[in-house]
Point group: C2
Chain length 435, copies 2
């Protein structure tokens, strides 16, 4: 086999066999296929796409490039989840303990944030002492013991994905549905749970800007899961405004705690109950997603969900007292209000602009490897649809310095659209793709 022939075949619109794709991925990881040939191949994929069979073969080739987790007897009941991320997206912090509190094991490997969206690991590390570096054995043992664990992905898992992503990132080949879908699903398949729930976001604050694009990506991922024999469903949810009210690491942990206590913002609680309902159904704990959501609402009210989060924090070395006393989380020295420039109704809040403001405060990183500030961020006081008066506080900035806070306040004020009438309310959940 020659890389040239495979590039040409894809360039000309033909489908590669599973053997050809495996050869290409193995050759790339092994150094036999140079970067420049893989770059040309990826650009050809960008233009020509891949069939579902090719995408499944690519995903498996990536999984086989490294080690896989052995969940043992847990694999059968465990339900993994993936969110395509977005501004203020702390669903993993809520969902993992919430679903585990209902008896469904949740093995969750997460990543760090880049750009205007935060990462679950960064958020959890705002909890004093919390460690996301777990060995495979510790990860599996913890899930067996308390029903859940959240850790960073080991480099030994799916090394082909990291290498391919690094190349895509510098060759303008990130935005390709089969490449995105195989990248996400390879990491889910490597974890080994028998069921996977995908939360695919769309809108201004998400990677996929339109609902139609999100649906295409969701269908590609569900097809991969189905081909791999995993029970897989994808929920498409709107991310035009930030999710919940807090954007920033410790601020989001505090909001997740409030939500697990049954006191969270309505949009966040609603999305977590909906996603969690599907997870309970995928895990065989409920007959329908609606029944699952009802069960989870009971777990919020009973305090089971919050106690599971406390157990998770304790198991991973964090200070469990933050659950009862969120003041123990890091806090920023400067708090600045963002006054409304005019009276009217909040017609929209640009999630991307809020995310960038939070990043510039230090809550996110512009480049890989940068440290993040756990304390800083933005808390929204007036959500979309709410009537406001001029100079009323739209949001609060949590900043390291007054100078940084004033710059962020200007950005956040500009992110609010104030109109004369309220916008039509659109549901957060836009659709579900099932296996």
């Amino acid at each position: 086999m020659r890389a040239y022939d495979l590039i040409q075949k894809k360039r000309d619109g033909a489908a590669l066999s599973a053997g050809e794709i495996a050869w290409l991925v193995d050759g790339f990881v092994g150094g036999l296929v140079p970067d420049y040939q893989m770059a040309a191949f990826l650009m050809a994929v960008y233009f020509r796409g891949m069939t579902p069979e090719e995408t499944a073969a690519l995903t498996w080739a990536m999984v086989r490039s490294g080690e896989t987790l052995d969940l043992g007897p847990l694999a059968r009941d465990a339900v993994d989840k993936h969110s395509s991320g977005g501004v203020g997206d702390k669903t993993s912090l809520v969902l993992v303990p919430l679903v585990a509190s209902a008896g469904v094991p949740v093995p969750k490997l997460s990543g760090r944030g880049l750009g205007h969206t935060g990462g679950t690991l960064d958020k959890l590390e705002a909890i004093p002492g919390f460690s996301t570096a777990l060995s495979e054995a510790a990860f599996v043992e913890q899930i067996g013991r308390i029903g859940c664990a959240i850790a960073g992905q080991s480099a030994a898992l799916v090394p082909a994905d990291a290498r391919l992503y690094a190349l895509r990132d510098v060759t303008a080949t990130v935005d390709s549905v089969p490449l995105i879908a195989s990248s996400i699903m390879s990491k889910k398949l490597a974890v080994g749970s028998s069921a996977i729930l995908l939360d695919v976001k769309c809108g201004r604050g998400a990677f996929m800007k339109t609902e139609a694009d999100a649906r295409i990506l969701a269908e590609a991922m569900v097809a991969i899961g189905r081909a791999a024999g995993r029970r897989t469903a994808a929920v498409i949810s709107a991310m035009d405004h930030p999710l919940g009210r807090a954007v920033g690491n410790a601020l989001e942990v505090a909001e997740a705690i409030a939500t697990l206590r049954g006191e969270g913002p309505q949009d966040l609680e609603g999305l977590c109950l909906a996603l969690g309902g599907w997870m309970l159904m995928l895990g065989g704990r409920s007959a329908s997603p609606e029944e699952g959501s009802e069960e989870l609402l009971r777990r919020l009210r009973s305090g089971d969900a919050l106690r599971k989060f406390e157990a998770l924090i304790r198991a991973q070395g964090g200070d469990p007292r933050v659950v009862e006393d969120p003041e123990r989380l890091p806090s920023a020295p400067c708090r600045l209000p963002v006054p409304a420039p005019a009276s009217g109704v909040v017609a929209g809040i640009d999630a991307e602009a809020i995310g960038l403001a939070a990043m510039q405060l230090g809550a996110g990183r512009a480049r890989k490897g940068e440290a993040v500030d756990p304390a800083v961020g933005v808390v929204i006081k007036r959500s979309a649809g709410v009537v406001v008066k001029a100079r009323e506080h739209l949001a609060t900035i949590h900043a390291r310095s007054e100078e940084a806070g004033l710059a962020a306040a200007r950005q956040v004020a500009a992110a609010f659209a104030i109109a004369e009438s309220a916008p039509a309310e659109v549901p957060v959940i836009r659709g579900v793709i099932r296996w």
Copy 2:
């Protein structure tokens, strides 16, 4: 500027500015833009194409990557020519002395063959003593003195082309009209003649398989020439059958000598007179291409053309006696006839198959840097349209060994299509694109 942004811009179908293209080419040659980014860019160009302005900018950026020839006062009158090559294509051997014999200076830089088509340098080096390695000064001086020179291209000329071509060659991005056109034209512009004639071949034995594709390439190249202020024309010619009768280095030199003597095969003589007529017109020596062709026919008959070839050989260290005595050219020890398998009419001769047979005899090279055998090759005895009887000789194989010759004879026999009736005659010249 960032290579990423330029890849993305081309990927999304936008046109790059001349400054952006120059930055990319300079960065690539200077090592700032890595191979993998250029490979992704080239694949995006394959899918998105380039505007005439972008193609002209790419061509100039490549020219400026290295040195250019200084033809001095010769530049004004000199006419360069390029042929896209094909099996049995010895037009340069005939045209360079023929056009020079009519008073138009011809500066010709040529290449070596690869695959089933031979290179002009390989053919000339079949003449004992002939050197194609001329310094720039010697090249220009010789043109001033005898009106023509044929030499290999120095690595200092258009280094970006060699580097880009090497990358295209391994990333399946050779077949892109703007990339082909800019590659060819950059080398013509670097030589510096004020006029350029392009011979773009189409058909089974050529790089462009269809007349429509050849026309697109010809138009792209003429547009580059026009943008650069060079008088440029392109003749589109058919290459379904081998051109002339001889395929192989010394065999083609002998056929070129016969043609310069006025005794060559009709198709080759006709094409050379037509192309040369255009060169005389471009060089200001004739009012029309037809008038130019008539002038050249007189030069064939008077012996001026043959004497110019003799002078060219002498000037470049070759044995000029080959002109009067082609037996002095290297000859192969084994000659084998190729008998016709049946009676009928020669309906077609597959040029590519003949070229591959000659290559396997040793006349061409499968890989860069391999030596070629000057003596071996194929001579066609029965051209397309000729009535043949079974076992009559269709061709003669000139081989180094009987074993190699028998293998080639089988390939050559299979390249002949024998039918019941003669095919419709199609003219060799299919069209002309003028500046």
